[in-house]
């Protein structure tokens, strides 16, 4: 498991103008078919450093799973250059397999008819994991993911959350350098989600495992990833800190004002607008990049103010706004991050 000679840690995963075009045949009439192309991934470039934990988000059909499939080597890019740990995934899929762990939330790597532990025994042989390391890794997963009761249960009898934990453990027995997670918390309850997140955080902190995480649950990203990449229509729309999304996403903060009595909507000119009125309480939206202080001063001066608070923009709302605008808000990122 030696590192390939020429991989720099800061570009452990490296994509340069990667594309994936699917040929799709569509029926257009009786026996008539029309061929057209779907650009699932359209010239994406980014780097991920060793030990980083990066969120990869975007609306349905954005191209996230397609990217991950190319990163595992099971799909060949239609264009561009792709390297993971110095390896070209689709050319050396088997060699890469030793270095990566993969969890596709909607699929399972486990054998349906067999007890969970039997799947792990097969992994043990398949990845040629030294016995001591296999035991240590398995014990660790059993403890942290709370699986001791599950080992003898046939996989088809596991609940979704139990199976997902089983799958995550299966992806880590061979100590991969990189872990791809495609919607690992899909369908899990709050407790299971918390458990999985805690486990991933520890894995990343202690082992330095590089993690690329796809999810529709932004809490996953908020709790785990300092860096996030947003993809839409196969193009990378944002790559940077999660907090930075607020600025580019035209997000707004909200000033919640409690007045003495019911009044017509507060008028502060173009700097803020009332988005909601409920009795004596009013909600004012203003750009997240502006200071709240002048607004507060003006409200306090002109209106009978009882109480007020400022709400930070909700990341969900920011992203929703971004998806809805179809990326018009953002310029696609240039090649490097």
């Amino acid at each position: 498991m030696n590192d390939s000679s020429d991989v720099r840690d800061e570009e452990f995963i490296r994509l340069d103008g990667v594309e994936k075009v699917f040929d799709v045949r569509r029926r257009t009439g009786f026996l008539r078919r029309e061929k057209h192309q779907v650009r699932a991934v359209d010239s994406i470039s980014f780097r991920v450093a060793r030990g980083e934990m990066v969120g990869y988000i975007g609306p349905n059909g954005a191209g996230k799973s397609t990217t991950i499939k190319m990163l595992t080597g099971i799909l060949t890019p239609s264009g561009g250059r792709l390297r993971v740990a110095g390896i070209d995934p689709s050319r050396e899929r088997t060699r890469l397999a030793q270095r990566i762990g993969v969890v596709f939330g909607q699929r399972t790597t486990l054998w349906w008819d067999l007890p969970l532990i039997d799947s792990y025994r097969l992994m043990h042989r398949m990845y040629r994991i030294p016995d001591a390391r296999y035991r240590a890794n398995l014990d660790r997963c059993i403890e942290l993911l709370d699986m001791s009761e599950l080992l003898e249960v046939p996989v088809r009898q596991l609940s979704l959350g139990q199976r997902m934990r089983g799958d995550i453990a299966a992806a880590l027995l061979h100590d991969p350098d990189v872990l791809y997670l495609d919607e690992p918390t899909i369908g899990l309850d709050v407790v299971s989600k918390a458990k999985v997140r805690e486990f991933l955080r520890e894995l990343n902190a202690e082992r330095g495992t590089t993690v690329l995480l796809t999810t529709h649950d932004l809490t996953d990203i908020e709790q785990l990833c300092r860096r996030v990449m947003v993809i839409d229509h196969g193009r990378l729309m944002y790559d940077g800190a999660l907090s930075g999304l607020h600025e580019v996403g035209e997000s707004e903060r909200t000033l919640v004002v409690d007045l003495e009595r019911e009044l017509p909507p507060i008028d502060l000119g173009p700097s803020a607008r009332v988005v909601r009125v409920e009795g004596p309480r009013q909600w004012l939206a203003f750009p997240a990049s502006e200071s709240a202080a002048p607004l507060v001063a003006r409200v306090a001066a002109d209106y009978p103010l009882v109480d007020l608070s400022v709400r930070e923009p909700d990341i969900e709302a920011v992203i929703a706004n971004m998806y809805a605008s179809g990326g018009d808000l953002l310029q696609p990122q240039a090649g490097n991050s």
């Binding site: 799973s65 699929r107 039997d118």
Partner: protein, 269 residues
């Protein structure tokens, strides 16, 4: 070879997976036994009419019936083995999971199928055969070497059967209707393996062709070895025929596999 242990483990798990389906096994044994009776009486009528048909006497013909009933699940003459599962995995995109593993796809599925075959030999082989021997006069070999030769022929038959079904399953990468291909291959298997009638009795060109097709390696050849029709050079020729088909079909499977995985389109998100 370190991977040898992996594929041994895969074979064991294939065995264990099928061992969990007890009701299906019992139902299979029951069906085979019933079919054995139907075919046995048909054959008796046939061989009364035409003694020595296909070069078999009546005892041999009856042995053939019960042997095939005990053996056809092992060599998956009627399909319904790994190909159904593999087609399903290709159709749903679960094949993605198999592809990013550091294991060879074909060897992996072969190992699992060998495990299945061993289970079916033990779980579904003996009962119909014992029933037949109890109620009819069968020509069961007394020489243990014949039994050994027979088992080798069965093993080769299993590999040929796998190689055919693997090719059929891979077609699902291109045809979205892999199930149709599997059904056609199962039909061909039922007819050309000799499950319904020994291929020896087929006349003329049809017989020549049927005996040259790979399916004859599944039941007809192991049965002929069992019945003592193939000994000495004849036995070696039988093995050579089975081995040649096994090698050719496995090689074709590898070729198709690499084409499929190179330009594969893995379905689903």
């Amino acid at each position: 070879m370190g991977q040898g242990r992996l594929y041994a483990a895969v074979a064991v798990s294939g065995f264990r997976r099928h061992a969990t389906y007890r009701v299906a096994t019992a139902a299979g044994v029951f069906t085979n036994t019933v079919f054995g009776f139907v075919l046995a009486y048909t054959y008796i009528a046939l061989w009364d009419e035409r003694p020595g048909l296909g070069g078999y006497d009546q005892a041999q013909a009856l042995t053939y019936v019960w042997l095939c009933q005990g053996l056809h699940a092992t060599v998956a003459a009627m399909g319904r083995g790994m190909e159904v599962e593999l087609i399903g995995r290709i159709r749903t995109g679960d094949i993605a999971v198999d592809l990013y593993r550091p294991a060879d796809l074909q060897t992996w599925w072969l190992a699992g199928d060998v495990g299945r075959a061993v289970f079916h030999l033990l779980g579904r082989g003996f009962v119909p055969m014992a029933f037949g021997a109890l109620l009819f006069d069968l020509a069961v070999p007394s020489d243990p070497l014949t039994w050994l030769a027979f088992l080798v022929a069965v093993a080769l038959g299993v590999v040929v059967s796998f190689a055919i079904r693997y090719l059929v399953a891979l077609s699902a990468f291109w045809l979205m209707d892999g199930a149709g291909a599997a059904q056609m291959s199962a039909l061909a298997g039922i007819f050309f393996s000799g499950l319904l009638l020994p291929l020896n009795v087929f006349p003329g060109a049809l017989g020549e062709i049927a005996r040259a097709l790979p399916w004859s390696a599944l039941l007809q050849m192991p049965a002929d070895v069992f019945l003592g029709e193939r000994t000495g050079v004849g036995l070696l020729e039988t093995y050579a025929f089975q081995g040649a088909w096994a090698v050719a079909l496995l090689a074709a499977g590898r070729l198709v596999q690499s084409a499929a995985t190179r330009r594969v389109v893995v379905q689903g998100g």
